[in-house]
């Protein structure tokens, strides 16, 4: 088969459509869920599509635009199908109730498996392990997909976007959200979500706070929170007990790259996603990655954009093979945490996405080729919660071996 797309969320669907439009027909989307749309299916709030369609859609509406297209184009989809393994030689093993365990040999693969939420386990919170502790996305699934309330009195740890959205959602459903505690001195969520999901409902955002203990034998009965110092260590004198029956966690998303690892794809230690070139090709030629499996996006519009690049490039790879015309490594200074892509292998205009490591005000984004600044842009404010991007023109790449992205005082 020419092309296998793993994952039928917004990334997988956009990539499939782009590949189709570039002439690929012998292809399939493998999706483990019983329907397309990925995580968007449970994001019933507004705010999707502003960049892409110029209007505010809900998650399911945004997904539907792509699903409709996939259907119109008759792109084959296998639902309820879980990919178990992929190899370096692009052999895919998957299972579903109809076909059993089967393999596909593909000329190209697009990885679009999305991400998962960091779990409580990773945090080593002291105390008991009762019912009533959920990641925000799991709670979202119970509320929006199943129609059940996981709790009535809620504390949220972490101010990731799903946590913020769930603070509002649970409040609208009649629950009391007592506080959102964020370990860092700033929120990892979008500014607009803090405004619309917390401030509008009078939910306190406690920055530099964490949960130090969970109480309750069968069901959560409360949590102890505390302020943290600059080293993020709890200050015990500030301990405060909040009675509640639910603790939601929104403490970060991790790209799901177990399959990529089994194929031997090299991963970035910073993004936990594959290391890619401007075409979103991974370290294995013919395997591409896009969407949240590559790096965690805050806006789906950028996922679609990235997936189109991967889809087109995969088509090109299948049709002509892909040739590298240069080899430029993109590096960062630490204040900028990472870039995607991490390398450029072809002389053409390249849009580079990046995230910063902290909140910075009045800065310049400078791109250096050796001693020379080839690109510079001023920003009033940058924050870890908001992804940034710049366009590197073809001319700027001329003769470069390495481009260093730096955040410098304006």
């Amino acid at each position: 088969m020419d092309l296998v797309i793993i994952g039928g969320g917004p990334a997988g669907m956009s990539a499939a459509i782009a590949a189709y439009e570039s002439g690929i027909r012998d292809m399939v989307i493998l999706e483990r869920d019983e329907s397309l749309g990925g995580i968007l299916q449970q994001c019933i709030h507004n705010g999707f599509g502003l960049h892409k369609f110029g209007e505010e859609l809900t998650g399911p509406e945004y997904a539907w635009r792509y699903e409709k297209k996939v259907r119109e184009l008759n792109i084959p989809v296998k639902l309820g199908t879980m990919v178990l393994d992929i190899t370096e030689d692009k052999v895919i093993t998957a299972t579903n109730p109809e076909d059993g365990i089967f393999t596909i040999e593909a000329k190209a693969i697009i990885l679009a498996m999305g991400c998962r939420e960091r779990s409580k386990g990773a945090l080593n919170i002291a105390g008991s392990r009762p019912a009533g502790i959920y990641s925000a996305g799991t709670a979202q699934k119970y509320v929006n997909m199943k129609g059940y309330m996981p709790g009535k009195n809620v504390v949220i740890l972490g101010s990731g976007d799903i946590g913020l959205i769930m603070a509002r959602r649970m409040t609208l459903e009649g629950a009391k959200v007592h506080a959102v505690c964020e370990l860092m001195p700033y929120s990892g969520g979008l500014a607009r979500n803090i405004e619309q999901c917390l401030n509008d409902f009078g939910i306190p955002l406690k920055l530099s706070h964490t949960v130090v203990e969970i109480h309750g034998k069968e069901r959560v009965t409360g949590v102890t929170i505390a302020k943290v110092d600059e080293n993020r260590k709890p200050i015990l004198e500030t301990k405060e007990y909040i009675p509640c029956d639910t603790l939601l966690l929104s403490v970060g998303l991790i790209p799901e790259n177990e399959l990529s690892k089994s194929a031997g794809i090299s991963l970035s230690t910073i993004t936990s996603g594959a290391d890619v070139d401007q075409d979103r090709q991974t370290s294995i030629p013919g395997i591409f990655a896009c969407g949240n499996v590559l790096h965690v996006h805050d806006l789906v519009d950028f996922v679609s954009e990235e997936a189109e690049i991967a889809g087109k490039s995969a088509a090109l790879y299948i049709q002509n093979g892909k040739e590298n015309t240069c080899s430029i490594a993109l590096e960062t200074d630490g204040k900028i945490r990472y870039t995607v892509p991490q390398r450029i292998t072809e002389n053409k205009d390249v849009k580079v996405y990046f995230r910063v490591a902290d909140v910075f005000k009045n800065v310049k984004i400078n791109v250096y080729s050796g001693e020379n600044v080839v690109f510079s842009k001023r920003k009033q404010k940058v924050a870890p919660g908001e992804m940034e991007s710049i366009l590197l023109k073809k001319e700027m790449l001329e003769g470069a071996e390495k481009l260093t992205f730096k955040l410098e005082e304006a």
């Binding site: 779990s119 002291a126 199943k146 309330m149």
Partner: protein, 477 residues
């Protein structure tokens, strides 16, 4: 009317019940929790100790060495994961070396086979990731690992398949004598049995008091653990102990039979028998000592932490005796209780016979139980045969541990049946992976609700009031 009632469905009660299933006798297990294997058996180091720790001549030493020799056969019959990975007690200095040599002497006296003191070079060959500071080790080739709740669930299941009854949510609150029989009461039920076996773990002293035996007490001692992702399971292949000191046995590092890396336990005496909470001091202690044992331990890959409570008996040894006619204690079963469990069962049944139990062995007893992991262990061709017959085996519910709906259905319908989320988890590993049930729990709640015929919001994590959901949303109402 039962011939024998076993109180407690931890590994001790489970192995005793399975032993009794060989006899033509009416046997029941009484367990206060919503499932088997929820006490000390749920949270421990999962090690089949070689047997060099316990003092020569103690019951602990005798039953540990015997039990560890029986474990392979038992786990084969029950289809339970077991691995003879060997263990190492590592030393950092001359004093440690002395202790290690003493341990070897003690082990030899206890009848442990193959013990050897090895030097740094051999140690490094066996375990390349061991700390640079380790200078010697006691190598115990008979050391092994096993999954304690897998063993217990399988033993109870096998006992039930051979006629033993299991009564869950039966908390024994009183025992009375009625002629030569015992009347065993819970809050809303009572049963009669001719013999009673007390395998109530932490609460064995309370049960013993119910028949007037106050010769011992059981004190809880906390043991906390940190469990790391399967990515780290290959860091060591043996179980790595530190040399015991005045401060205790210290923090061990071991692979688990499921391929994770386990570190712990702490050791702190506490007052409350139900306080299985973890502490930040405990975490700090584990991280410090485990990091001394190896070159590095990637605690960033932690997937969960938990706490088990040791049932420390006041006598220092296992308390296995018959204080009253027809009543037998299997109490104070702290470490190496898991390792010793097959031998404890035989020993207890011996005492029971001394008390007059004289049922004949039955021919129909089948010691073999189909492994709960048969689907996972099958070849692709076999799996496809199974999926063709039952498509639920083609549907993956837990993506981290690759658990199918078919396996979950079997967990709910095979003895001893899972009735809550944790029960399904212990039987199938669903939710034990890196996402810790974030993705699969809404589906498993749905399957439980459907299969048990109970409303969605009535599904619990572990029985009692541990509800997952508290009601419907406004829209759904």
């Amino acid at each position: 009317m039962y011939d024998v009632a076993v109180i407690g469905a931890g590994v001790t009660g489970a192995m005793i019940a399975r032993g009794l299933a060989k006899y033509d006798a009416k046997v029941c297990i009484l367990e206060k929790a919503n499932d088997v294997a929820t006490g000390a058996t749920r949270a421990n180091s999962a090690i089949v100790h070689a047997g060099f720790d316990a003092k020569e001549g103690s019951l602990k030493a005798k039953l540990n060495v015997e039990g560890s020799k029986m474990m392979k056969k038992v786990t084969d019959e029950l289809g339970v994961k077991y691995k003879n990975n060997g263990s190492l007690v590592i030393g950092f200095n001359d004093e440690d070396r002395k202790t290690i040599e003493e341990l070897k002497k003690r082990g030899d006296a206890n009848g442990v086979e193959g013990l050897r003191v090895i030097d740094a070079a051999e140690l490094r060959e066996l375990e390349p990731n061991i700390s640079e500071n380790a200078t010697c080790a006691l190598y115990a080739p008979t050391g092994a690992i096993v999954c304690p709740y897998d063993l217990t669930i399988a033993a109870v299941g096998n006992a039930m398949d051979n006629g033993v009854e299991l009564k869950l949510n039966f908390k024994v609150t009183g025992i009375e004598k009625d002629g030569s029989d015992y009347v065993i009461k819970s809050e809303n039920e009572q049963i009669k049995a001719h013999y009673v076996i007390n395998a109530a773990g932490l609460f064995a002293d309370d049960i013993a008091k119910m028949v007037g035996d106050d010769s011992f007490s059981i004190n809880p001692r906390r043991g906390e653990y940190i469990l790391l992702d399967k990515e780290c399971g290959g860091l060591v292949s043996h179980t790595i102990f530190r040399t015991p000191s005045k401060m205790g046995k210290g923090i061990l590092v071991s692979p688990t039979v499921d391929g994770n890396l386990l570190t712990g336990p702490t050791s702190v005496d506490i007052a409350d028998k139900e306080d299985n909470t973890t502490t930040s001091e405990g975490f700090a202690h584990i991280i410090k000592e485990a990091s001394e044992n190896l070159k590095a331990v990637p605690f960033g890959k932690t997937i969960t932490s938990f706490c088990g409570l040791r049932a420390t008996g006041s006598t220092g040894d296992f308390i296995i005796n018959s204080p009253k006619a027809g009543f037998i204690n299997a109490a104070g079963i702290e470490s190496p209780g898991l390792s010793a469990s097959p031998a404890i069962a035989e020993y207890v049944i011996g005492l029971l016979k001394e008390q007059g139990f004289n049922a004949a062995q039955k021919d129909s007893f089948n010691p073999v139980r189909r492994s709960a992991h048969y689907f996972k262990d099958a070849s692709v061709e076999e799996k496809n045969e199974i999926i063709k017959k039952n498509p639920a085996f083609g549907r993956i519910v837990c993506r981290c541990e690759i658990v199918t709906e078919g396996e979950i259905l079997e967990a709910i319908h095979t003895n001893p049946k899972a009735t809550d989320l944790d029960g399904v988890k212990r039987r199938t590993r669903s939710g034990m992976g890196r996402c810790q049930s974030g993705f699969c729990s809404p589906y498993i709640v749905e399957i439980l609700s459907r299969e048990l015929g109970i409303p969605y919001e009535c599904v619990t994590k572990s029985g009692g009031e541990s509800y997952i959901n508290v009601g419907k949303t406004k829209e759904a109402e």
